[in-house]
Structure formats: C-alpha cells, structure tokens
C-alpha cells in the first residue's frame, strides 16, 4: 500500500519528462495507455462515504488503471459494540439491540436471539404455535422488504433508477404492515423470549393477501424492466464468479451461498419454528445468464426468494391457529451456566447467536455471526482482475449491510 501514496505526482513527472507536455494525471494516463511501462499503481479509496457501499465501509482498491489488483475492505466504522452491550443489559432488555444488528431485516435478528434464549431456557416446545406462525409472517414480510432493498439498490448501482423506486413503493406497504403489527417501521422489537409482543391487528391478513395479489405480478413487471434488460445482464453475468467450493471455504451464507449452487437453507436443513409445516422451494443458482455463482445468480436468487416468501406468507396467513402469543416466562431470567448457538435464515444468510450464560441476569458472552461479515471478507479474494466500474456491481451483488457487518 505504501508504494501508491504519491502516485499522481510521480506519474506526472514521468509523463512530463517523456513527452515534454502535460503534467496532469490525465495526460500521464493517456501516455500510459499508449505503451509506457507503468511503474506505479493507484490507490483508490471507495468509501467510507460512497453511495455504492450501502453504509459506511471502506474498500481500499489498488489498481493499475482501470484494472483492480487488490481490494482490501476496511471495516468497523459502524461498530457499536453490541456484543459488549449484551453483557450489560438484561436478557429481555437486549431484544431492541438485536434490531440494530441488522436494521434492514430486523425481524430475523429478533427471531435468532429469541430462539437461542428459548433453547437455553428449554422453552422451544412451549412457545405457542400461534406465536411461531406470527414470527413466520413477520420474518417473511421482512425478508421481502430486505430483498426489495437488495435488488433495488443493485439495479440502481448499475444505472437504472426507476425499478428501485418501484421497490421502495412496495416496501412502503410492508412498512405499513409492520407499523400495524408492532408500532414500528424499521426497528421492530416485536419478538420476545417465549413468543411475540402482540397479536395480529384486525383485518391484517386480508390486507396482506390483497397486497400479495398486487405484488406477485409486479415481480414479473420488475423482471421485464430490470432482470431481463440486456445491458443489466451483460454488466452482471460472468462477473465475480464464486464456485461451490470457494463459497463454502469462505463461509458465504444465504442467497450468496445458494447462488453458488449449494442447496442449503437453514429453514429447510436445520428446521426451526413451523417452517417444516410450510411448503416452499429453495432457489439455487443455475447460471441463468452466465455461469453458476456469478453476480447475476446472486441477484436473481433473491428475486426468486421473494416469490417463495409470498408462498409462505399465503400459507401462514391461511393456516395460523388460534391461541396465545406468549409462553409463560418469568420476567427476570437467570439461566444457569450454559451455552448455545442458534442459527436462523436471515435475508443475508445464516445469522447465528452464540450465548454463554452464567446464572446472572445478563449474558456472560454473546456473539452474533452474520452473513455480511463473510460476504465482505470474500471481496479480498474476488477483487483482483475486476474493472473499477464492475466493483460497484460486484459488491452490490453480495447485499452487504454495514451495521450487520460491524455490529
């Protein structure tokens, strides 16, 4: 990295001496492309404040002209020490903080924490079935909303603006549902250890079904506008290919993993909640427009997942049983010395909570394993050989959410 500290001045002098004219960097670039041997590489800071990084992440790019030689992600700008906070607040008091781990899909972050505590307290079988169904409804709505942001911003990063606005319009409807369900539009704090906070408001299921009737055809509309667009496909196909072995070795999760051809979904393979009772498929990358595991696959898997979430929602709203929404849980939780790990399928893949308890009212240690963390890490292996203009699309295809990465 140190070699590139004063690139522009050095190149200016090189070109100046060889051509006798222009001392600007632009002139030296032109000279370089004409065949002068390059001595220096350029260091480009993408971020921390860059619209394409979707949050505060710094990608340090070492490039030779337009060609990237190395990408080094520098993270931690959004580190809020949530794991340390978990050691200070009570078990129930930590629930609102899980919203902040991933505020684009806060429901699944809630669910993971509720699940790990239920495992430790032995409550898994005592949570009412209605509560599990409510969790499924909330999580799947949230997954759709998160994929709205993921696919919409990806289309926007490549240059199309309107489809992004269409998705934000649909996402607004989900925000309204969430507001009706729990009073919040972004950080829900809806789930509780042992159930959920509130039952469905009257007329909720009818409203969601009506919206689904409108939304499902609009996916095809979105596909016509963006996914099937020739320019869009050519920007993404064959870009940043992650094969099966690489995806597993680098610990990719969720849609990113499935795009590489691994048929794995926590909801299917490590069943939790009432997902075994619901019928849905797991979309796996097939190389729709290029090869398996390229950026287009990562994008299109998410589009298909939205359709599956709609299927789950219809079944869950249909089959939701009557009953309580909370198990009987004492207000003060003091689990004995124990530890557990519980994974959930978040919108960004396996989100796992590892909790160590020691008989106190707050966790002894809590760790959150998130999909964005490994997805950002793999950039250092994928960046080499990519053009700078493609880096934006490549990074967007992993759907990294900075707060989830840094916690």
């Amino acid at each position: 990295m140190s070699t590139s500290a004063n690139t522009s001045t050095k190149q200016g002098t090189i070109s100046g001496s060889s051509t006798g004219s222009g001392s600007s960097t632009g002139a030296s670039r032109a000279e370089n492309s004409a065949g002068t041997p390059r001595e220096e590489h350029m260091l480009l800071n993408m971020g921390p404040q860059h619209p394409s990084t979707h949050g505060v992440i710094n990608l340090r790019v070492e490039s030779d002209g337009e060609m990237i030689l190395r990408v080094t992600p520098e993270v931690g700008y959004l580190h809020r020490s949530i794991e340390k906070i978990a050691e200070k607040v009570s078990y129930n008091g930590f629930m609102p903080y899980t919203d902040r781990v991933d505020y684009v899909a806060a429901m699944t972050a809630n669910e993971g924490y509720a699940m790990v505590m239920e495992r430790i307290l032995g409550l898994v079988d005592e949570v009412p079935r209605r509560a599990y169904y409510l969790r499924v409804i909330a999580s799947e709505l949230c997954r759709i909303a998160s994929h709205h942001v993921a696919t919409g911003t990806m289309v926007m990063d490549v240059g199309a603006y309107s489809p992004f606005l269409w998705w934000l319009r649909e996402r607004e409807a989900i925000n309204d549902f969430m507001e009706a369900l729990c009073g919040a539009r972004l950080t829900y704090n809806y789930m509780r250890i042992g159930g959920v906070m509130a039952d469905l408001p009257p007329g909720f299921d009818r409203r969601v079904i009506r919206w689904l009737d409108h939304f499902e055809p609009s996916i095809d509309e979105f596909n016509r506008a963006a996914s099937e667009n020739k320019i869009y496909i050519e920007r993404l196909a064959h870009l940043g290919v992650v094969d099966r072995d690489m995806a597993i070795a680098w610990g990719l999760a969720g849609p990113n993993l499935r795009a590489s051809g691994v048929d794995f979904d926590v909801r299917k393979n490590i069943p939790y909640s009432v997902y075994p009772e619901l019928e849905f498929d797991v979309p796996v990358g097939r190389g729709w427009c290029g090869e398996v595991g390229d950026s287009y696959d990562r994008y299109y898997v998410r589009i298909l997942e939205m359709k599956e979430s709609c299927r789950i929602l219809r079944q869950a709203l249909e089959g939701i049983p009557e009953g309580d929404t909370m198990a009987k849980v004492s207000r003060k939780l003091k689990p004995e010395r124990d530890e557990a790990y519980a994974p959930v399928e978040s919108a960004r893949g396996e989100m796992g909570y590892y909790v160590v308890t020691d008989g106190e009212e707050n966790a002894y240690r809590l760790k959150v394993r998130t999909g964005s963390f490994t997805a950002t890490q793999i950039m250092q292996a994928l960046g080499a050989g990519v053009l700078i203009a493609d880096l934006v699309a490549l990074f967007a295809s992993f759907d990294v959410v900075a707060p989830e990465l840094d916690r």
Binding site: E83, V124, I248, G251, S330, R331, K332, E339, A340
Partner: protein, 245 residues
C-alpha cells in the same frame, strides 16, 4: 414485579446426542486424555492441548464421517476466574448436516492459539475479530490486525477486566447526561426565585380535554389500593380535575 421466584429449569431440547457421538469419534481418534466433553445445550469438545488444535481440526474437516466443511464462527470468551481465555469454533457440515462446537483454553497471560486459517480461509476475519475484541493471539495468522477498532486502540473490550480509556485522541469516551444539565438549570432558577421572593410558576397542564368517561389509569390504580379506606369517587375526581385545569 413478581420476580422473586426463579423459572424452574426445564428439560432442554434433545439435541445433545449427535454431538456426543461426534465427540466419541474424536476421542476414539485422539485418546481420552487429549479431549474432554463439556455439557451444555450444544455440547462442546475441549481440546486440552492448544498445540494439538490444528491436528484435531484437520481431522474434523477431512474425516469422511464428520466432514465439517463450514466454519460458522470463531470467537473468544474471557474467564478471569479460571485465569484462561477460550477460543470457540462452531462447525457445520453441508455433507452430513451435523454441527459441533470445539474449544481450546489458553492462559490469559499468554493467549496464543494456532490459527485455523489454512483449513478454512473464512477464519481470517473471525480470528482478527477475536484478536481485536478479546485479545487472543492467533499464531501463523496471515494478517493479524485489529478489524473493528482503530489500530492504536488500547485494550481488548470484551475482556472482563477491560477499562475504557477516558479519551481517544482528545475525543471523550463518556459524556455527562443531558438530563443533569436540566436539573442544574432547575436548581439555578429556584435559587434565583427564592432570592427574589417570587412565588413558584403555575404548573402547566395539557390543554387537551379528555373524552367523556375517561379515567386516569394512575388514579384508578391508586383508588384500587385505597378502596377499603377512602371513598370510591376520589380517583375519578382527581382525574377530571387534572383534565380541566
């Protein structure tokens, strides 16, 4: 707050058996002295000698019946009472669908653990994070730098004896509660008023008139408490008076 009674410990979910079988297989390979089983909701295999960690981990990865190809997470836990730090590994196998937890314990004074990066490349950042926040030193790691905190940060925040520095490059890490400033202002105003001999200002109430038949829940609660002693209308009167004022 009915909190004095603690929740009875209920039957834990039946997930322990597969982990025990996995542990038995590791034990059969490395001998009883090398590993120990620690019971929890997710039972843990403790590797007694940190030097043997790589050997055990590569067995877990390459053994055809275990085949743990996915390293979910690496993290650390500080145990000052035991004088040790744990490095915790969560593994999952896409081939068999099994999960297992492995731990290694090192002294706090010399928290050196061999890096598993060459087995699973994803360990790179996980180990950097455990180094940054817990202070475990991973030997033979390719790039052991802080990841979340700045390079010149002092201490490892997830250690139990961590003391935060008062400031970082002149930026304070704590600040006074803004409510203290309001309290101070109130005190100053009262002192001034008393010095001048003025009467306290009238208490401001909400201009919104409560709807017909609304009862202040606070007054209702107070009424319920004092019901046997005082007359029942006291609560609702108080509520109306507050609304009208």
């Amino acid at each position: 707050m009915a909190a004095s009674k603690q929740e009875p410990v209920r039957a834990k979910s039946k997930t322990r058996e597969p982990s025990r079988a996995i542990h038995a297989r590791i034990e059969a390979r490395f001998g009883e002295g090398a590993v120990a089983l620690e019971d929890a909701v997710d039972p843990v295999t403790l590797v007694r000698d940190p030097k043997q960690l790589i050997e055990v981990m590569s067995f877990l990865k390459t053994d055809p019946e275990l085949a743990f190809d996915f390293l979910r997470s690496v993290t650390g836990t500080d145990w000052p009472k035991l004088g040790s730090i744990e490095s915790v590994y969560h593994l999952y196998s896409y081939q068999t669908g099994q999960a297992h937890v492995v731990k290694v314990r090192v002294p706090r004074a010399r928290p050196d653990v061999p890096s598993v990066e060459r087995l699973w490349p994803t360990a790179n950042w996980f180990e950097r994070e455990a180094f940054d926040l817990v202070g475990i030193r991973y030997l033979e790691h390719s790039d052991l730098r802080r990841i979340m905190l700045p390079e010149d940060w002092i201490g490892h925040p997830l250690r139990k004896d961590y003391v935060e520095q008062p400031d970082y490059h002149g930026i304070g890490t704590t600040r006074a509660s803004p409510l203290d400033a309001f309290a101070e202002l109130d005190r100053a105003r009262r002192a001034l008023r008393e010095a001048r001999g003025e009467a306290p200002p009238p208490v401001r109430t909400s201009p919104i008139t409560p709807p017909e038949g609304w009862v202040d829940p606070k007054a209702k609660k107070a009424e319920a408490k004092t019901k046997p002693a005082s007359k029942p209308e006291a609560g609702s009167d108080a509520g109306d008076a507050k609304g009208d004022a």
